[in-house]
Amino acid sequence: MLAYAVKRIGLGLLILVLVMIAMYAAVFLVPGDPATVALGPRATPELKRLLIERMGLDQPVWWQIVEFFRNALTGNLGYDVWSNRPVSTLVLEALPNTLILGLTALTVALLIGVPLGCLSVMRRGTTADAIIGVLSVGVIAVPSFVVAIYSLLLFAVTLRWLPAIGAGEAGDFVSQAKALIMPAAAIALGWIGYIARMVRASMMEVMGEPHIRTARSFGLPEWKIVSKYALRIAIIPTISLVAVGLGSILSSAVFVEAVFARPGIGKLITDAVNTRNYPVVMGTVLIMTAIYVSITIAADLLIARLDPRVRDVFRG
């Protein structure tokens, strides 16, 4: 198990390095002079040169990458070109908002999606199963920014129940929670459908296995067979799906944060890209990739923990 974990973490670090190399290559390959784009056509050559030096773009690309990682190891992710604030501070300020948004959405999706999938299996072939199936496909098909805009119109503009923008008053839990409802729902809705369908599909397969017949032959109640005997196995593909899907949850956070003008990583990175603020883009991408890679590793370790057969494969 330890060797497995070390191997996975090593692979994760390699992915981080490769992503950053790709990022720098992209900056290098994108046509146009970033300083001209950022400063506008009327900027003086001195000003442009100054900006290029500050972003480190006058150095060879490989040197930029080496410098970036050397600094990153000491916790220094560079400085915002415009405000001169450390990128690490900017990311740390924005990150909690996005994480709260993403995790709330995911938790809600799991808490609703998994029981719906189980219910579908217990009532398979009935109207309830059919309704859950149709609704699942329906919500998967609706993009999260569409949900965001329509819920904004309904609950914020027409009904005025929920705040339209922002993340709520600092320190006021109720106001923060109210500001979280719509963005989280916008992201969670599609995932409820995904998870319900995934749980249903993998559980239907598990329910046909002989050990389920054994559990039935001992007269165990159906809810216990579904929730303990089948779910422990059926949840495994769902965990992989959710871990991979976290990337798309974080990217839909970019849209949703834009719609609700909610401070967060999504807003930070869109603003930085628009102003060619490369140090901020690089630092944010590094942190987001690191989070994504750690979640994937955590999911793999969780699967190994849930399935003793996987555990044994990696023990030897």
């Binding site: 054994t214 039935r216 001992f218 007269g219 005997y229």
Partner: protein
């Protein structure tokens, strides 16, 4: 609690998109406490359907006619809830393949604790103590450690012992072993048969053993039912069936058992032909197309059940008492 079991005129058909499959037709069997009943026949003859019906585990597309009476209760007419209450309490099933019979992600001990869920009077610790004792009884050394093992950490023979221990833990009045040795190698098979023989000495319920292996049936059972194409074609005491078989199918089946050959043969004997299509069962005798003694009525008239002695019956036109 122990009681007698009888199936009277029991038929089971599976509704499929290609029409109904008549898997079991007009089966009569009976069993009394303390008896070991064998059910034998080739693959697809309805053995598993019969015991699955007895254990109330038929799939949703199965339709039952006739009655299954256990201890005076008609199991075929019970609702799903009451059927479930009998399973794992009065009726226990040892399943066919020990390799896949247990949940792969839960420990043996965890599953065997759950299987005793009808025993509301016992706490978790008491249930675990019963498991340890029962695992010892079926010949598993180091029972405490084995309870914390996952199924894939045990060998096939050991898993079959655990499966038998699991079914005995529920103190069933009716224990059904569906092909208990089919998935095992010969050494393991001999050990499991030995174990079942030992267990039956201090067990006073009914044991039903299903097998296509004549040797297993001869070793274990008091009485045998021979099945062919969804019907019981012959039934009687083990001695009567093995030494005085009257139905042509039973005779042919015995003639094909390699264990009974005295000399080495170049070719193993087989019964020519194959099983009839059970979506359209024949009008007459089910075995007639393969029978070397078939005559005029066999193709069109269903043969009666001929009573040969107090317990020996055969369903054949060519047999006379």
């Amino acid at each position: 609690m122990t009681g007698s079991l009888s199936a009277i005129d029991l038929s089971v058909r599976y509704e499929t998109p290609h029409g109904a499959v008549h898997a079991l037709r007009h089966v009569d069997i009976e069993a009394h406490p303390g008896e070991v009943i064998g059910i034998v026949g080739e693959s697809g003859c309805g053995k598993s359907t019969l015991v699955t019906a007895l254990a109330n585990l038929l799939p949703a597309n199965a339709r039952i006619d006739g009655s299954i009476s256990y201890n005076g209760v008609d199991l075929a007419k019970l609702d799903a809830h009451h059927q479930r209450l009998l399973r794992g309490d009065e009726i226990a099933l040892v399943s066919q393949d020990p390799m896949t019979a247990f949940n792969p992600v839960l420990t043996i001990g965890d599953q065997l604790v759950d299987f005793q869920h009808h025993r509301k009077d016992l706490g978790r610790a008491q249930k675990r103590a019963r498991i340890a004792a029962m695992l010892g009884r079926v010949g598993i050394a180091d029972a405490e450690r084995r309870m914390n093992s996952y199924p894939h950490e045990l060998s096939g023979g050991m898993r079959q012992r655990v499966a038998i221990a699991a079914s005995l833990l529920t103190d069933p009045g009716l224990l059904i072993a569906d092909e208990p040795t089919t998935a095992l190698d010969v050494t393991m098979e001999a050990q499991i048969i030995h174990l079942l023989r030992e267990l039956r000495r201090d067990y006073n319920g009914i044991i039903i053993v299903v097998s296509h292996h004549l040797g297993v049936i001869a070793e274990l059972c008091d009485r045998v039912y021979v099945m062919y194409a969804g019907e019981v074609v012959e039934g009687g005491e083990v001695d009567a069936i093995f030494h005085d078989a009257r139905h042509p199918y039973t005779q042919a089946l015995l003639a094909c058992d390699p264990a009974r050959f005295h000399e080495r043969l170049d070719r193993l004997p087989t019964i020519p032909g194959s099983l009839p299509n059970l979506t359209q069962p024949p009008m007459g005798c089910v075995y007639a197309p393969r029978c070397d003694r078939a005559f005029a009525p066999c193709g069109s008239v269903a043969p009666p059940l001929v009573k040969l002695s107090a317990s020996h019956v055969a369903r054949c036109h060519a047999v006379t008492p």
